[in-house]
Amino acid sequence: MADEPLVLGIETSCDETGVGIVRGTTLLADAIASSVDEHARFGGVVPEVASRAHLEAMVPTIDRALKEAGVSARDLDGIAVTAGPGLAGALLVGVSAAKAYAYALGKPLYGVNHLASHICVDQLEHGALPEPTMALLVSGGHSSLLLSSDITSDVRPMGATIDDAAGEAFDKIARVLNLGFPGGPVIDRYAKEGDPSAIAFPRGLTGPRDPAYDFSFSGLKTAVARWIEAKRAAGEEVPVRDVAASFQEAVVDVLTRKAVRACRDEGVDHLMIGGGVAANTRLRALAQERCEAAGIRLRVPRPKLCTDNGAMVAALGAEMVARNRPASSWDLSADSSLPVTEPHVPGHDHVHEVSNGNLYS
């Protein structure tokens, strides 16, 4: 345990400044500063507001994480950072911090993929990831179905949204219902008191000739908005709870149906769900039900580890160290569209190699 890699991870791909510290698969600290309140009045994340907040929050958040973990920066075996995908300006703040931190401490730097980190974080909750693992990642920024046989080197996209992310649809419907931002938690709350079968909203891309693992939430979003407007136009009251429940059911029905089908088709007996929408109680319940019926083991981290955080980046960084993956170079760039097939951004040469004294071996 003591010789497992001690890694600090930095995450700034969206509006959360996250700094996490792990030792191998053990979570030691998960410090977060969020600028979500500053975005609320805009109804969505404003990139420049997020970038400014990251710059101000970074040093205090690193400090807090070190205190929480009770470790000294000198003892770290590596620094990991989200290199992409995400908001370009926001990513750049985290990458700049991670590079300076790693360089000043003489530690190796690992630029890692945000999506792979969302999967790897489950190691902190449920232990080593089964190989292969099917992962359903759903948040305001992503809706993907991924298959990984080795989280440090092999992540294969099975399907993804062809339009809006699932979380984005929650935000939009919450706005139409005047429930505020972000929409996920509030829809979940109202839906608990509503009837999920009250209104038959469409299930996108579920026809026999549609791509089996891709998602589409744009049509659903429009259908729900139309339904609400028709009610309002007729002077009738909008049954907010039933709308929330029926909309949510349409989203989670498609997500779980496709995820379970992908597991079956690929002969994978583990499904992990991550991303902010994984905090949705109905998604968790329905996934559990359908996985049980199909003989699949479901792994969903606690909600705080599902949303963007630094611990997930540290978790993947620790895995990079443990599996001896090459460190990144000092000219590592923030790549807003880093492909999911690249779990990390290895250095292109070895001239920047730092002393191996601190490396996990």
């Binding site: 969505g44 710059l55 700049s96 360089y103 000043a104």
Partner: protein, 218 residues
């Protein structure tokens, strides 16, 4: 004493080391789109050139702008984090002051102007290379023509708008060497340097989404 100075508030990615007597190594590269990639390797190169390692640094000096935000933040975040990791103080210096210092003008007044994009300049007026007369501001060149009329000007912003700045000359971008020398001078004189916080001068662009689009055909 070993000060590490850096600035990313103009298209230049510039780094210098000052040992208390003079600048002992420096690097400047002009590439407005790659501040993030270029800065750390430049720090590494400058230290290697001086035969030193980062542990020897006793203080960090960083240009606080004004400058285009994305690039500006690279330098500030790097300086902040060096300060944290090394346990050394981080000092800010107004980037325009660095340019004024490098211009080496004993008797002004003169103007420093950098490119703020969107057809605007960041600018300030100076009595001489060490004395700023106005707060840094961001304006359209035509709107400040009256205030800068007849004054010589330095910086890329001045060179870019000859109608407003007919007497414009080098330096175009700031150098960390000038920033370091200025900081050393001011610290030696017991003057306090500004905190390493960014001078954005503009509020963030934030489009408030309009009320949701009505999708029902009327």
């Amino acid at each position: 004493m070993l000060l590490l100075a850096l600035d990313t508030a103009t298209p230049a990615v510039t780094v210098a080391l000052h040992d208390g007597t003079d600048v002992i190594a420096s690097s400047s590269q002009v590439d407005a789109r790659r501040h993030g990639e270029l800065l750390l390797p430049a720090v590494d190169r400058v230290l290697a050139e001086a035969g030193l390692t980062i542990d020897a640094v006793t203080g960090v000096v960083v240009g606080i702008g004004p400058g285009p935000y994305t690039g500006l933040r690279v330098g500030l975040m790097t300086a902040d984090t060096f300060g944290l990791a090394l346990g050394v103080p981080v000092h800010g210096v107004c980037t325009l002051d660095g340019l004024a210092y490098a211009a080496d003008i004993e008797k002004g007044p003169f103007v420093v102007a950098t490119d703020a994009r969107r057809k605007e300049v960041y600018w300030a007026k100076y009595a001489d290379s060490r004395t700023r007369l106005t707060d840094p501001a961001v304006d359209r060149p035509a709107d400040i023509a009256g205030q800068v009329a007849g004054l010589p000007a330095v910086g890329a912003g001045a060179l870019l708008y000859p109608d407003t700045f007919p007497v414009a000359h080098e330096p175009e971008n700031v150098s960390a060497a000038a920033l370091a020398r200025l900081a050393v001078e001011r610290l030696a004189a017991g003057r306090e340097l500004p905190a390493p916080r960014p001078l954005y001068l503009r509020r963030p662009d934030a489009q408030v989404p309009k009320n949701y689009k009505v999708v029902t055909p009327k």
